[in-house]
Symmetry: C2
Subunit: 327 residues, 2 copies
């Protein structure tokens, strides 16, 4: 295992210390590494709290800041945060306007956020993201997995909350964004969880995993490596077929790296995916390319397409000031 | 070779098409993929033009935009841009205020930018960056290599040009920034140039290359993999010893990923480097962590320390709006 670490058991804490120090203008690290919260809170605003296993950075801690999340709870690598982490985060940032949990549809995350919602001494509501079209049920979830599309929900609902939307409005909006968002991923290599010390799965030199999850869990099928445009075609076809009529309007195209894939390849995949969408007469009006929802050092990427109505476009364009996403 | 490509010979063009389409609000792609320039130019401003081999993205095309570069010339992967690319870029963005070339100290880049300076029908000046303390001469350069510190020069001089600094002033400032900037890198894995199809060098499972260059060229020594804090110690010690008295003031600490190293490890390295600097009584006042000056998918990172005077801090903090760097 070749990683910049001291000890697997201190990796997360040391990394969070570094994150909080590097971005001290934006965030504060909560006690005992339980959460990362905004340095300045806005009274009266709905507070957005997300979280999940670490190893997907910048999701979620890198999205804490004005225009996006109020707090994020980092679990150990690929392990859900505990209910008490979530409760403490909610109580640290939530006020009378309530707290909105944004939860990726994984069994552990769902359970722990549900327990936190019961325990928290504040009003809460939850949006569950399940944008991954690759599999209908997975080794880690009942129903579709929540993956890179979670960023889109966090950005758009974050902007709405910033502009004063109330809790019920945020829920409806977030559910609409999620309902119009589809993703699919592909892995060229595995990743290695530091505490495990060996790769999560094995792929031979000429294989890839189509539809992989963001923890390296199995996708649709393991196939021979193919040219980028054929990979992009399979992914965009699955996404567009699943989106159905929703794909007819304005679209966000988001090509996301899993951690080990360089920018030059991500932009090539973006180019291929965009051309394929445009050849179908579809309209890409907003774009995002980069490694935002990762699986440690996995080589691979996902494609996300979100159907955006005019309100969502306005909210997508609103300023955001976080460690990882800024405009 | 596991990469998202169609054909090695079309990788760069397809990637640049994707880049230009994804960031059409910021950049325009020049004819025949010769350069990427800002969509809107500011008349009367000194124009900053950089470039170099591709495979280091986001350097340099990702730094084109308000507050940083006016144009960047992408060569083929790890290959200098040609003089005619540079001339066309300079003439596309340069006006009466002149053109400033920012050039990493590599033999091919120096030669081609020098030829371009002779050929260009506009006033030009050049800043050469040579921040890499690892080796005094390298396989690709006479003198030290220009590496991640180039970003710092581009950001600070870019801000000065935006505020109206003339060509001579930009040169003096850029040389001062470069003189106060030191970097050192370490590779945990090689990278694979697509046209070559096999790794640039071989590292066994328990080895790392200390002082590696951004093309995978040899560094100081090949040693056994060590704990992150020992790696950070060797790198920061080399940097600080070389900076000498300049390290006594305000410092920027920049931990840069080489492409295949995930964010969770980069922040851990930042944490280790920062602690080591602070234990020496040094003062980190600005920070940057991310994969900005890469070597394709190489796992590894570099540490850069820049001594910043008060003017440079003001300029560092000025707004920047590029594909890869925004605040």
């Amino acid at each position: 295992m070749k990683k910049f670490i001291n000890f697997p058991e201190t990796l997360l804490a040391e990394s969070l210390d570094g994150f909080a120090a590097a971005h001290a203008d934006i965030v504060i690290l909560g006690p005992e590494y339980k959460f990362v919260r905004r340095r300045s809170l806005t009274p009266g605003k709905v507070a957005l709290v997300s979280g999940g296993g670490s190893g997907h950075e910048p999701l979620h801690v890198g999205f804490v800041g004005v225009g996006m999340l109020d707090a994020a709870c980092p679990g150990q690598v690929f392990t859900s945060p505990t209910p008490d982490q979530i409760v403490e985060a909610a109580q640290a940032v939530g006020g009378d306007a309530g707290v909105l949990f944004i939860v990726k549809n994984y069994a552990g995350d769902r359970m722990n956020f549900e327990m936190a919602a019961e325990m928290a001494e504040c009003r809460t509501a939850t949006i569950l993201t399940d944008d991954d079209v690759a599999v209908e049920n997975s080794t880690h979830s009942a129903g579709r997995r929540g993956v890179a599309g979670t960023l889109v929900v966090e950005k758009i609902v974050g902007a709405a909350a910033e502009r004063g939307a109330d809790l019920a409005r945020c829920v409806v909006l977030g559910e609409r964004v999620n309902a119009g968002t589809r993703s699919m991923g592909v892995a060229l290599t595995s990743c290695t969880v530091p505490a495990a010390g060996s790769p999560t799965f094995a792929l031979s030199a000429d294989e890839m995993e189509m539809g992989v999850g963001i923890h390296g869990e199995p996708g649709r099928r393991r196939v021979k490596l193919a040219r980028a445009e054929r990979i992009a075609d399979e992914m965009t076809t699955a996404i567009i077929n699943d989106l159905g009529d929703r794909a007819a309007g304005d679209l966000l195209l988001f090509v996301n790296g899993f951690g080990g894939t360089p920018s030059i390849e991500l932009y090539l995949m973006y180019n291929a995916a965009r051309r394929l969408l445009e050849e179908r007469g579809l309209r890409v009006v907003r774009s995002l390319v980069g490694s935002f929802v990762t699986s440690l050092e996995m080589a691979g990427c996902s494609i996300t397409v979100s159907a955006l109505d005019s309100e969502m476009i306005v909210l997508w364009d609103q300023p955001v000031h976080t460690a990882a996403l800024r405009w």
